[in-house]
């Protein structure tokens, strides 16, 4: 089972359709999903699921970035986690990385820097972010755009972050994440 965490500023927001549903539509082709708003994730949800996907949010929505204490479970979890856009930024904040203002909107060239099981070459992806992160030593960088770091992976744990939105033009990346061994 996949736990999809709704990272929007409130539960059942208008952004839900845009940032959560498209991920769920792709994920459900591979496995059963449960959806929880970030303020309502319980220990039971985390122990029942096999993996976690953190959604993105609207450009103006920075709700999760100001509440890293709600995501302390990210430091403990041993299961695969994929943070998308605001999801990746939140992983960054929880692991003590610095957020930097960086605007990218639209199709962006993503350059592969390290061989990995989720994507195999350079590709184009849809970006919609107002911040990027400066990765800390616990993480390695798998891909970059001309402006910033686009994909990170924790060096020991199966925690991944995509700054772009794979649900828009790169659904295969989400499917491969779901098929990764946990």
């Amino acid at each position: 089972m996949i736990l999809v965490v709704d990272m929007n500023w409130k539960k059942e927001s208008l952004s839900f359709y845009e940032f959560v549903l498209p991920i769920v539509t792709i994920a459900e082709t591979q496995d059963e999903c449960i959806i929880k708003h970030f303020l309502e994730v319980t220990n039971q949800d985390l122990s029942q699921c096999d993996r976690v996907i953190l959604s993105g949010t609207a450009l103006k929505d920075t709700a999760t970035l100001g509440q890293p204490e709600k995501f302390m479970w990210l430091r403990e979890i041993e299961k695969p986690v994929l943070g998308i856009c605001a999801g990746m930024e939140t992983i960054g904040v929880v692991f003590g990385m610095r957020l930097i203002r960086c605007l990218e909107i639209g199709m962006t060239q993503i350059k592969l820097l390290k061989e990995n099981p989720l994507f195999y070459e350079d590709f184009k992806a849809y970006s919609l972010h107002g911040y990027c992160i400066e990765p800390s030593g616990d993480f390695e960088v798998w891909a970059k755009s001309t402006k910033c770091v686009q994909f990170i992976n924790h060096k020991i744990k199966p925690i991944y972050g995509a700054l772009f939105h794979p649900e828009v033009r790169n659904p295969e990346l989400i499917k491969r994440f779901i098929l990764l061994e946990s």
């Binding site: 208008l14 845009e18 609207a58 033009r169």
Partner: protein, 226 residues
Amino acid sequence: MRLGVLFSGGKDSTLALHYASEKEEVICLITIISKNKESFMYHTPNIEISALQAEALELPQITKTTHGEKEKELSELEVAIAEAARKYQIEGVVTGAVESVYQAERVQYICNHLGLWCFNPLWKHDQKALLEELLEKRFKVIISGVFAYPLDEKWLGKQIDNKLIDRLVDLQQKYGLSPAGEGGEIETTVLDAPLFKKKIEVLDCSVEFKGNSGVFLIKQARLVSK
């Protein structure tokens, strides 16, 4: 949150408005009338009917006309959105974008520039499901423009029903058309929707068809009680 909806009067923007009204407060409509019939950005046939639709919705409408030159259309859109923000204190904008990264990206840039929220509630929706949802919610939608082979004049003015959805899905399988017309193959006009206080009655119309494209023009229409 006070929102303005980018409104063309077609099925997508009207459905996006419906979603937005369920979650937030829709304060006004923002409509761009492009004089370029092949506008790259905006739904075109029967855009003038949108004033009647605004009246049916009992919402104020900000309208701007462009001549459809690429970058000018966008600056007109920014002017219209800025005016909506000033006049009606909207905090965000809603679009009916489904698949078009181009369309979504442009509005995101404008909203970011103006400090507004941007919502695309139909983003990545399955196109067949979207058409079926219109029927479930009892929207009355007609096909007002066809712009790709093998669609012909027989489609113009037809109301979207289950049979028509099946035919569109069939064309998708045979010709790769997007069933909801997201690639610009079809344009639609909404004559009635759940939020309309009155519905639109077409009194006079004409069909223009040439080559592989045509439009159903509403020449005269009025609001009647539902």
